[in-house]
């Protein structure tokens, strides 16, 4: 009897759904480039104090609005003579926080609301979804600006107003996915075996609805970044002298006749983050679509 015959047949474990999705994303070049760019922007914002940059608050009247490529100021200086490179990197801190936090808050609130509305159904569903409909009667930019305008300028107010804008959108997606899963056999089986509604929602449904909602939310980050910076651009978000991309665009607007390309730089950052999140969301969506 040979040794090989005694060895057990190799076990081939079928790859799970999420492992397959993960592999497909890693193989998607566009998604990986976007992820890399985002990691770079996040890491530099996080590590800004240790990168040996100039002080982003320190201005100088004699070196205002230097051009891109000036020695010691690779990206020039702003209208108060502050180093643009430092301000763009430091600016990532606030800009990313005010752009991403609303989506995270809305993701948590909207998913909970949608899950409950979709699972419980009936009157509770009607009550939640009809309330949501009211917010759909406002274009999202208008709603964000209306709430921010009423609450007054400030970072917290801008995060609150954007959260209110995104909750209805995520709730709608969550509700429709949940309604789709609610009557599937495995949920029926859980119910038959005596699981309570909370357990069913948490254990059996959440895992099945989270994927699509997550992809949708990732796409929203792009909109949120643009809107959050937009609120600051209007003067409704961050206040000077904080470095923040939207606010920087606003204060540099007066400089477009003197040094136009330096004035346009903060927008490039917003654009980069926004397009990367959009492409990443597209990549995830097609990776999760196993039919292809």
């Amino acid at each position: 009897m040979s040794d090989t015959a005694l060895q057990a047949a190799p076990i081939t474990k079928a790859r799970g759904y999420w492992a397959t999705v993960g592999r497909r994303i890693v193989r998607d070049k566009v998604s990986m480039v976007c992820a890399f760019v985002l990691v770079l922007i996040f890491a530099s914002a996080l590590l800004a104090p240790w990168l040996g940059l100039a002080d982003p608050y320190q201005g100088s009247m004699i070196r205002r609005l230097r051009h891109i490529g000036t020695p010691n100021y690779p990206l020039g200086t702003d209208e108060l003579g502050r180093d643009m490179l430092a301000r763009l990197i430091y600016g990532g801190r606030l800009s990313l926080i005010i752009g991403i936090l609303p989506v995270i808050f809305a993701f948590v609130i909207g998913t909970s609301l949608g899950l409950v509305a979709g699972y419980v159904g009936g009157r509770l569903n009607t009550a939640i979804m009809r309330t949501i409909d009211v917010f759909y009667a406002f274009p999202s930019v208008l709603l964000a600006i209306a709430i921010s305008g009423a609450l007054g300028a400030g970072i917290v107010n801008s995060i609150v107003s954007l959260t209110i804008v995104f909750v209805p959108q995520i709730t709608r997606v969550a509700e429709s996915v949940t309604t789709g899963v609610r009557n599937m056999d495995f949920v029926e089986a859980a119910r038959a075996s005596g699981a309570g509604p909370f357990t069913i929602m948490r254990v059996h449904m959440l895992g099945n609805v989270l994927g699509p909602i997550f992809v949708y939310a990732t796409g929203l980050i792009s909109v949120s970044m643009i809107l959050a910076a937009g609120l600051s651009f209007l003067g409704l978000g961050t206040k000077p002298p904080e470095p923040e991309w939207g606010l920087m665009l606003n204060t540099l607007r007066t400089a477009i006749y003197v040094n136009p390309w330096v004035a346009a730089l903060p927008g490039v950052m917003i654009f980069a983050v926004s397009i990367c999140f959009n492409l990443l969301s597209d990549g995830m969506r097609s990776a999760m679509d196993i039919r292809n």
Binding site: A137, F233, Y257, F271
Partner: protein
């Protein structure tokens, strides 16, 4: 069809009332006294009380809301605190300029979006598709207020071809459809058009792809239809959804014009909203938001009806 329209209109009534309630409450979530902006800092208690009574801020909230709605129904949205002029006439004049801008932007954005979307969906995974998809994703990801600035930098500052701000040579008073005025419209319209262009491209591309993969298209080809006639079927099937998306985008352009109008100092409803916010002119803020939201609701209603009219698959019974 009439029953369908009637039912849709009935559905809209509670929405309109809730929208009015939200607009009304906006003023009351404001921290501090709504009159702070108009009263001089050293105003006496009596003067403040007098003003509060004059504006009706001393009554209970539900009464204030009832009165506000009642007046609004009669076309009276109060007077602007800053200028003293009636809010409704101020808003309507500004909305006219915003409509001009939105229609110009829609013409550009929708034409390009439909064109790119159909071509990209039809020639899926070819280089044409890749170019169109990239343009579309850039369109939906670009901070449009920044794009506006870049346009001004290129076409006004560097090339000196087009004016940077305003809506006409003689300030911003009256709009006319001549070249002198049109020059002012070009940059804001192109800037406004990029988002709808991107969204329409993406929607139409996905729709075209879906339709082309359906069995009936195979049947049409098997029947011997020329490619052009197959294409006509694709357009017919994509039309209702594309129309709905375009309607929604038109609404977003009308209601969300504040950023672009601020960049270009375009004297529309967005710029009015901007000044209402910063002058803390609450009746004007309330009125502008109400009018814009009602525009949006009406537009959605019209789109629903139009969609039902051209798509026999939507149940009207």
């Amino acid at each position: 069809m009439f029953a369908y329209i009637a039912r849709r209109i009935v559905y809209v009534i509670p929405i309109v009332l809730s929208v009015a309630l939200v607009c009304f409450l906006l003023v009351h979530i404001t921290p501090g006294d709504p009159l702070v902006a108009v009263l001089p800092a050293d105003a006496s208690q009596e003067l403040a009380a007098q003003m509060r009574t004059a504006y009706g801020f001393d009554r209970p909230l539900p009464v204030q809301f009832g009165l506000w709605i009642w007046r609004a129904l009669h076309g009276d949205l109060g007077a602007s605190i800053a200028t003293g002029r009636p809010v409704l006439s101020e808003v309507l004049r500004a909305v006219g300029n915003t409509v001009t801008l939105a229609i110009a932007a829609a013409l550009i954005g929708f034409t390009l979006g439909l064109l790119f979307g159909l071509i990209a969906g039809y020639f899926r995974d070819t280089w044409v598709d890749k170019v169109a998809t990239s343009v579309a994703i850039a369109g939906v990801s670009v901070p449009h207020y920044w794009l506006g600035m870049v346009m001004v930098i290129i076409f006004s500052v560097q090339l000196n071809w087009l004016p940077a701000v305003g809506a006409g040579p003689g300030g911003s008073g009256s709009w006319g459809w001549d070249w002198e005025h049109m020059k002012y419209l070009i940059l804001p319209a192109i800037t406004t058009s990029v988002i709808p262009m991107g969204i329409v491209t993406r929607t139409v591309r996905a729709l075209t792809g879906d339709i082309l993969s359906q069995d009936f298209v195979e049947a049409l080809r098997a029947k011997g239809l020329r490619e052009w006639d197959v294409f006509k079927h694709v357009i017919k099937n994509a039309a209702p959804t594309a129309l709905a998306v375009m309607g929604l985008q038109l609404g977003y352009m009308l209601g969300g014009s504040i950023l672009i109008e601020t960049v270009f100092s375009w004297p529309g409803s967005g710029l009015l909203l901007n000044s209402a916010i910063f002058q803390r002119d609450l009746p004007l803020l309330q009125g502008t938001i109400l009018v814009l939201a009602l525009f949006f609701v009406t537009l959605n209603l019209l789109v629903d009806i139009a969609q039902a009219a051209i798509d026999p698959r939507i149940k009207r019974g």
